[in-house]
């Protein structure tokens, strides 16, 4: 299966990746042949519900799978090397943190509570850039300033508990940025934060990206965040990427029934007094072998073939593909739900206040 969409400058090329876990003597297939090509300098968002495998997928890029997990087959090409062949910690140290960095969801748990934040950043400079203590500390302070911590000269001596959630997330970003990575993976960076703070953090990541020119991979289930940041979107379901395209293509012209369902269940599209659309059933049990389309049992649009054969990739445009039998020329013509057909119009109405010029007093 070829997940490549465009012939741009590909920085990370994941092909047919299969990741398995051993759990209580049983084998679970968390990633079932996912392919994704990430272009240099772009922002790509991986979207899916919990358990779809989006975190496991990206953790495999930095060799951070849990001990009971392994890459069964497939390849991850980065800078001419296949990361799936890396075995030792030593090999990974050249990539993890240095070239591919990760920002985790909860800033409370990803910082060391016993170390001053300046120290935690300086550590990175000492380890990866070979600076001495003084240089590293100065570099840490200037990075703290860059990510918008006021009074960095004073505050670098403070401990994580003395910062608010948003400020802590800025510190985590500073640690990730200290190595000037080529790829920054943000795993739900704003779910633990307020809307106003969320907007600030997203702006910060965007401005850092403009300055340093790194590639960003977002993992999120918040489609609002995706629309805000992403150039391209990959939708993940049961360990597979089932639709991928430019943000506009996914939001205004989605093709996979799962993407339809995901968009329809947004409260922004709900009509007051009527039940909100919700996806029936549960994601498939990944301990079992899945035949056909994994989404078929929950899919009101499923064809007979969906239960037997796995759908291949169908290209809608050179930049947009989906893995659904509905796109096969032989498939019966299916109209997407009305709510999906009117996506573009309904967004416009939602934005009426912001568009009619009453912006700010």
């Amino acid at each position: 299966m070829d997940g490549k969409t465009v012939d741009g400058d590909i920085i990370l090329d994941v092909r047919d990746l299969v990741i398995k876990f051993n759990l209580r003597g049983q084998t679970l297939t968390a990633i079932r042949g996912a392919s994704l090509a990430v272009e240099r300098g772009e922002t790509i968002a991986i979207v899916g519900e919990s358990g779809s495998g989006k975190s496991v997928f990206t953790k495999s890029f930095i060799g951070m799978l849990d001990k009971n997990g392994w890459i069964d087959s497939g390849s991850i090409w980065f800078e001419g090397a296949d990361l799936t062949r890396y075995k030792t910690e030593k090999e990974w140290l050249g990539v993890r943190g240095k070239k591919i960095s990760m920002v985790f969801q909860d800033p409370m748990t990803s910082l060391n509570p016993l170390k001053a934040i300046g120290k935690q950043i300086a550590e990175v400079y000492e380890l990866h850039h070979g600076m001495d203590k003084k240089q590293a500390s100065e570099a840490a302070i200037s990075m703290l300033e860059r990510v918008g911590i006021p009074n960095a000269g004073e505050r670098h001596r403070q401990y994580p508990h003395e910062f608010s959630g948003g400020m802590r997330q800025r510190v985590v970003i500073a640690i990730a940025m200290a190595c000037t990575p080529q790829i920054l993976i943000c795993d739900e960076p704003t779910t633990a934060l307020d809307v106003t703070i969320q907007a600030q953090i997203l702006d910060l990541i965007r401005s850092l990206q403009a300055e340093y020119g790194f590639t960003t991979i977002y993992i999120t289930h918040d489609l609002g965040v995706v629309a805000n940041v992403a150039d391209r979107v990959a939708v993940m379901y049961a360990g597979k990427i089932i639709e991928c395209g430019k943000a506009e293509e996914i939001f205004y012209d989605p093709r996979h029934p799962y993407t339809w369902a995901l968009l329809s269940s947004l409260p922004q599209l709900g009509i007051k007094g009527k039940p909100l659309f919700s996806i029936s059933g549960t994601p498939p049990n990944l301990f079992n072998e899945i035949t056909g389309d994994a989404f078929a049992p929950r899919n009101p649009y499923a064809l007979k073939v969906d239960f037997v054969y796995e759908p291949p990739i169908f290209y809608v445009s050179p930049t947009h593909w989906a893995a659904s039998w509905l796109l096969d020329p032989r498939a019966p013509k299916v109209e997407p739900p009305e709510i999906i057909q009117q996506l573009q119009d309904s967004w416009k109405v939602q934005n009426a206040w912001l568009q009619n010029g009453a912006e700010q007093p």
Binding site: E49, S50, G51, G165, D194, V195, T196, I197, Q198, A199, Q200, L202, D203, H221, D222, L223, G224, V225, V226, A227, N228, A247, E248, F251, Y252, L262, L263, S264, S265, L266, P267, Q268, L269, G270, I271, K272, G273, K274, P275, L276, F277, S278, I279, S280, G281, P300, P337, E338, I339, Q342, S346, W347, V349, Q350, N351, W353, L354, A358, Q360, P361
Partner: protein, 346 residues
């Protein structure tokens, strides 16, 4: 994770004959007509409520002279960022937090401060709360049977064991869970199911007012829709009044009839939901609205969130007051500000 067996699944997408666009044009036409038809009865009134917490040096005022009321049968939203005091208000209503000033009136009776044991029992029955994190709010060592009937045990809400069992079964069915689940422990359930258990535990008391404190923010997108549907369905079938505390404005817009926006312990704006969304007056409300990420790439790409600067008010000479700027639309501002803010909408 156990299988989610829900009766509260949504109607198929084809049910949506009404377009999203037209629904927003005529915001809550039916709902407004419905509400004006019957007399509006205030089920809960909050007057000049303040809540203080003891800190190292003196007191910290978490809620500062807040005024609002909730009509019977409506969904009232309380919106604000973390630390604004929205949860504190909710907890003060269910008598978890002590109040330091002002009154909370439920069906005309004062329920804060010292009250008689009879009234206390009545309040426990009639006002129930659903908590934010279903992972943390259920006793891990108790079976669902006990968790759901704990309220009954503590208020003597049943006469025979058979009656209690029947009540538990009914409450579980009502939230879309199977009665067999009563013999299981919380860890056997998924997040969405746990939140349903939290709702069942509130429902068994047959409350009139349900205070829901961020009931869906800890849940996954696809589960959120199910829990929201369940809440609005329960509200219809039971005639419940719902107080919905949230920071996610897109959800609030979908579910509430009226909202109050709270900032640092003060309510800065209050009105019908669609009115607030289409004509936000207070700069804080505007900042909050502009920060909601909408799933619309075209709008989002060109947008930079606007931030609220609390220093933008000139209250030294002209102190602000709680004024009705437009019918039913209140804002905390001084005379000049009301004029300036509402000018673009006239």
């Amino acid at each position: 994770m156990t299988e989610e067996k829900s009766t509260a699944t949504a109607a198929p997408a084809t049910d949506r004959s009404m377009t999203a666009a037209s629904a927003i044009d005529t915001p809550t036409g039916a709902a407004i007509a419905d509400r004006t038809a019957r007399p509006k009865e205030k089920i809960l009134e909050v007057k000049n409520l303040s809540v203080d917490f003891k800190v190292k040096k003196g007191y910290f005022r978490a809620v500062d002279k807040v005024n609002f009321f909730i009509y019977r049968g409506e969904t009232f939203g309380l919106v604000g960022e973390s630390g604004s005091g929205k949860t504190t208000i909710g907890r003060a209503i269910v008598r978890i937090n002590e109040t330091s000033e002002g009154d909370i009136l439920f069906e005309g009776k004062k329920i804060n401060g010292r009250i008689s044991p009879e009234l206390d029992r009545e309040v426990v029955h009639k006002i129930q709360m659903i908590f934010q994190d279903p992972m943390a709010s259920l006793n891990e060592r108790a079976k669902i049977d006990y968790i759901v009937s704990e309220g009954l045990y503590s208020t003597g809400g049943f006469k025979t064991e058979a009656e209690r069992k029947a009540k538990v079964e009914k409450a579980l069915l009502e939230v879309g869970l199977l009665p067999e689940f009563a013999s299981r422990f919380p860890h056997e359930f998924s997040g969405g199911q746990r939140q349903r258990i939290g709702i069942a535990r509130a429902l068994i008391m047959s409350p009139e007012l349900l205070v829901a404190d961020e009931p869906i923010s800890a849940l996954d997108v696809s589960i959120r829709a199910q829990v929201l549907n369940l809440l609005s369905q329960l509200q219809k079938t039971r005639g419940l009044t719902l107080m919905f505390i949230a920071h996610d404005l897109s959800v609030v817009r979908f579910i509430t009839d009226r909202i109050a926006v709270i900032h640092l312990g003060k309510i800065v704006e209050l009105g019908e939901t669609e009115e607030i969304f289409s004509r936000p007056l207070h700069p804080y409300t505007r900042a909050l609205l502009s920060a909601i990420p909408l799933p619309d790439p075209k709008r989002e790409k060109g947008r930079r969130a606007t931030f609220y600067n609390p220093g933008c008010h000139d209250y030294a000479e002209n102190p602000p007051d709680w004024v009705e700027a437009m019918p039913g639309h209140f804002v905390y501002a001084n005379g000049g500000e009301v004029e300036a803010w509402s000018a673009p909408f006239r």
